[in-house]
């Protein structure tokens, strides 16, 4: 039960918006979408988590896989606006340092 919006903005940054639950079923779609973006030449990606109501370890795995793929291609993957439930998952797994939440999708690549 997740919808996934994928677009590339005017700066060439891929913006991925998962809406709903990011679980074992939907994590596969996210993983595929991130792979497709990088393979098609979009190496800077921001995943906007403002509408992700839940994320499990599979969702986290898909983000880590996307991060590695983007970095291998010379780019990066960043996250923006995580909900409290999703923030808890990052903190609990100590991945809030690896994937530091940004305030907005637009500003995610400002630094």
């Amino acid at each position: 039960m997740m919808e996934l919006d994928v677009r590339t903005d005017e700066r060439g940054v891929g913006v991925v918006v998962p809406r709903g639950r990011l679980n074992m079923v939907s994590a596969r779609s996210l993983r595929d979408a991130l792979d497709t973006l990088v393979n098609d030449g979009t190496h800077r990606i921001v995943v906007d988590l403002a509408e992700t109501t839940f994320m499990d370890s599979s969702g986290l795995g898909a983000l880590i896989a996307g991060l590695k793929t983007a970095r291998q291609a010379g780019g990066d993957l960043r996250i923006a606006r995580p909900t409290p439930a999703v923030t808890t998952v990052f903190e609990l797994t100590n991945l809030d340092k690896v994937l530091r939440p940004r305030e907005s999708a637009e500003a995610a690549f400002d630094d």
Binding site: M24, V25, S57, S58, A62
Partner: protein, 141 residues
Amino acid sequence: MTEGRLQVDGHAQPEVLDQVHTELEQLWETTGDVSMRDRMRFEMGLMEIVGNVVEHAYRLDQGSAARVLSVSVTVTDSEVRGVLADNGLPVEVDLGDVTLPDPEAESGRGLAMALASLDHLEHARVAGCNRWTLVCERSAP
């Protein structure tokens, strides 16, 4: 005193994840006064363990249609308790040996997350079934 209860029985296939999740959200609506923090903690633990059962059903049983999963959740004024039973192959689980993997790992965090989020997590082999017991002690509302 029991304030609410849910029961889901189904095949151990990925679709059961959303089914359990939706039922759990409805249970929070009917019980009402479980704090957001306790809801998040229990939800995280329960969904990781259901995911673990489904994942192993695929890997070990070579087709999960025969593996049946039963999930029950009970809310009382002091705790939220979940019991999962499945008829799959025995799973060797040493919960004392669970740690978080390397930050770059793409899997292997589920049990560590469940352990960290719940107050009690137990796996046992009972009457030919894997049985998981999950407890979240409720904080003051």
